[in-house]
Amino acid sequence: MSEFFKPKTVKECIDLLDQYGSKAMIVNGGTDAVEKINTGKAQPEAVILMTEMKELKKITVKDGAVHVGGAVTYLQMLKNAEIKKNQGMMIAVGAIGSPPVRVMATPAGNVGTAAPSADCTTMLMGSDAKIHVVSKKEGERVIPIDKFFVKTYVNVLKPEDLITEVEFPAMQPGMGSGYVRLTRRKVQDIGKVLVSATIEVKRGRCTKAVIGLGALNATAVRAYSVEEALVGLSRKEAQEFCRSGLPKEAGLRPSRYTHYKEITTPVALERAVMMAWDQAEGKVK
């Protein structure tokens, strides 16, 4: 038998996590957590709900960064004026599950689950995001997203850790983002190839690039080799480079989709980068 708790503050929540440790389970939107409970993969003694922690339900902009609270839902994100400026984020979040799933599901839950094919996680990877975590013993920590995942469905969090927010740079003039997902069906499908890009363009040349890849390696990954190569290139040169081959960070695992992923990832990369480029040059509202 399990009990449930609805802490009203972060302090109350981390006290509970400290008390129950691995016997506790945080349930945020429930999309992944309830399935784990129902299939017996998780049998928590204490279910800790995020629903009452008002301090984690806000999206704020501070010092040039967007801070998305740990209990913010995708629906909230899609209606937020600051998120709407981020083209790639809107596409990624709008592609998750279906409208009823997005009412409850959260980005904090998405990174917490650590699925390699998670849309929001992949976009956050391509946004240079940081995950804010707190626990009673260790206090507050900020973990860059490319240091957050260990392997498929495993991240660096300990049982007593709580994700309090996800942070990523706010969009500025000259900056653009893009997101491309290749799936078998238009909606409600897990992507086979996910590519996210955030780039900065000055006088027709790329000055900074952040690229995320999902559904290829064991976790979502940063494609540093692509990022380095894109800096200094013109639009046409960047397009040609993206098409030139599979990024080495893709780390494809053997599966029946391996060949498909090999030939489509460069195309998806090109599309994501060009989408971001267009926004950076003001061609997208």
Binding site: E3, F4, K6, V47, V103, Q188
Partner: protein
């Protein structure tokens, strides 16, 4: 066990449940409300859709304890909560011939109710996006889309 208080189809209810119990099981086994169907159990098919504070959500990925202090409406509650008359969406689904086997229809109707409460004059593309999380294996969706358009028209006219 945990005591959970919530509003179900307009009535205040209190139940004692394990914190791991799902709302779909609570509805079907404790309240014998079988309109919502447990099908995929992973939030994908939409057959278990209910209204949670007016928004369509999945009851198979919803713990009953998550509904403490919240309001749930199932397909069984639509007519009583509409003064004993069929809800305009229910009426439109019947008239448009949108129902074949009927299995997905409670979810389709509740999704449509939540959608039309927010968008009174939807385009076909918006309707398709709104019901994209509700799978039907026999209708082909065409008449369902017709039904949503008819319901939207009736609701705009104040039916």
């Amino acid at each position: 066990m945990a005591v959970v208080n919530f509003k179900l189809n307009g009535n205040d209810v209190t139940i004692d449940v394990d914190a791991k119990e799902r709302m779909i099981d609570t509805l079907r086994k404790r309240f014998h409300l079988t309109g919502a169907k447990l099908t995929c159990g992973t939030g994908d098919c939409g057959a278990c859709t209910v209204l949670y504070n007016g928004k369509a959500i999945r009851s198979c990925t919803l713990l009953t304890c998550m509904c403490d202090g919240q309001e749930i409406v199932t397909i069984e509650g639509l007519m009583p909560m509409n003064g004993g008359k069929l809800h305009p969406v229910q009426q439109a689904f019947m008239e448009a011939g949108a129902i074949q086997c009927g299995y997905c229809i409670p979810g389709m109707i509740l999704t449509t109710v939540a959608f039309l409460n927010e968008n009174k004059n939807p385009t076909t593309a918006q309707i398709r996006a709104a019901i994209s999380g509700n799978l039907s294996r026999c209708s082909g969706y065409v008449k369902i889309i017709d039904a949503v358009k008819l319901a939207a028209k009736r609701m705009r006219e104040g039916a």
